[in-house]
Structure formats: structure tokens, C-alpha cells
Amino acid sequence: MNNLIIGASSGIGEAVTTRLGGVAVARREERLKQFEKYEPFDISNLDEIEEFVKRVAKKYGKFDNLIFCAGIQNIKPLKVTKAEDILQIFTTNLISAMLFAKAFSSKRVCNQNASMVFISSIASLKPESGILAYSASKAGLNNFIQGSAKELAPLRVNGIAPGFLKTEMTEKFSSIYTDEFIENMKKNSPLGLANLEDIVDTIEFLIESKHITGEIIRVDGGAIL
């Protein structure tokens, strides 16, 4: 399958590209060189997304799946959150996701039975203090997944809402996500914490399931319960 994987330089994106293969897209070229096919691109360049996707489809052929894993998080209570913090998070987590979906849905870019999978978060369903902008952006993404599943059918559009994962994104906040915090999260999840491979398993399931669309699957070990 010809996959277009956005946010492939680390975390879920890197894991899914390693397992399933495809054209890896991310800002940091040096992190993409491990893959056979890659295209460096900064997804915050919103005006360039459509042309970029067209160009990549021309180069590698029509795609079967868009797997959108790019995402950023910031831990800041609302009272100290600035407009630019919110804008930055929404640009990466929601607006670029929507624009990639728009570009991907073109018949010149994807095959007839193509699908899209977006990485959301359980924070979209159960917002937590300190990450409101992140939670709201992912809640918006959930809504977009369901709406675009209607509008873009027969293309299938699905999402995954992981619980806490040890990735580069969360390691940035290691002073907050301490070992003690992670142990606590494990205790509160009936099945413990998921790992990247659990997420990739679910991506694989979603792209192969021909009659599932508009679905957002929690992969959180029951943490939300």
C-alpha cells in the first residue's frame, strides 16, 4: 500500500512508517533519512500544503492512505496561555490536518478506496487541566473526522485516541511527566499504558477495515474509564 505519513520523524509517525512503509513527511530532514521514501515539509506552511501533496502524489503515484500523526502539545494553564500558543497548537493539530485531508481527497492524489487516519487523543474526550488548547484542538479533530467521513465518502476517515504515550512530544515535559506521574497513570489504566506498537496495530486495523468510517478508537488501556 502506498501510504502518505505526516509527522513521520518521531513517535507514532516514525513507528507507523517503520512498520507499514510509505512516504514519510516531517520538517526535520535528518530524521527522515532512515526511510526509503521521504519528503521534508513544514506542515505549518498552510498555504503550501495543497501543492505539496499534489507534487508528492505525482512523484510517488496515487496514495491508498493518509496517516496524519503530526501533533504538538504545550502544558500551560489557561491564565498564562497566549494567543500565539493557541494558534500554534491549532495550526498543527487541526488546521493542517484539515488541509491535508482536503488535498488528499482529490482524485488526482488518492485511489478510489483510500482512507485517512488521524491521531487524536483521549484528552479530546476527557480534557485535563493545563492542556486545554491541546484538548480543544483534538476535540475539533474528532468532529472533523466524523464530518469528513460523511462529506468525503466513499473515502473512509477514522481516528485513534491514544492515552498517555512515552514519545518525544511527552518527553519534552519530563519535569511534569515524571516517573511518579507515569506510575500513577499506569495504576489508573486497567490495562496499563499503551505503547507505540499498540497504536500502529490499530492504524493497520483501520486502514484494512473496509466498512468502518467516522470512528475514533480509544487505545488507552481503559484509562478514561
Binding site: I75, K76, P77, K79, V80, S129, G130, S175, I176, T178
Partner: protein, 74 residues
């Protein structure tokens, strides 16, 4: 940054109407809770001072918050 400016910034960040002084007990500030600590971490981050939630665990008075900012405060 002067100590007075920092005290004002602390009050604004914690969102308290109390007049903060170096001797003010943190326990006496109603708004000083876990969210306030996250807000303060963001403030220290802007000052390029690396802190973790643990650094706040044993603080007693506002002067301890000033000390945490180290040489950033004149």
C-alpha cells in the same frame, strides 16, 4: 528584573489580589494550588529558569519563589 517587578508578576501569574511580600506564606494564598504551580512553571520557563513540580514541594514563603528564580532577580 527587580524584586518588586517579580512580586507583581508572581501575583499576576497566580492571579491573586493579595499584596505579595517576601514573608507571605504560600499556604495563605488561596490561589496557590497545582494549577498555579503549572502557571509559575510557565513563568520560570519564560525567564529561562529550569524548574520541575518537585522544586515547589517544600517552598514555604514567597521569598522561596524569588530564590527559585535565582540570578534573574536583581
Amino acid at each position: 528584573m527587580t524584586k518588586d517587578n517579580f512580586l507583581e508578576l508572581l501575583a499576576e501569574t497566580i492571579d491573586t489580589e493579595m499584596e505579595l511580600e517576601e514573608t507571605t506564606l504560600l499556604d495563605e494564598i488561596d490561589e496557590y494550588d497545582s494549577i498555579a504551580v503549572l502557571s509559575l512553571m510557565s513563568l520560570y520557563d519564560e525567564l529561562n529558569v529550569k524548574v520541575s513540580p518537585r522544586d515547589f514541594e517544600n517552598l514555604k514563603v514567597v521569598a522561596d519563589l524569588i530564590e527559585l528564580a535565582g540570578e534573574k532577580i536583581e
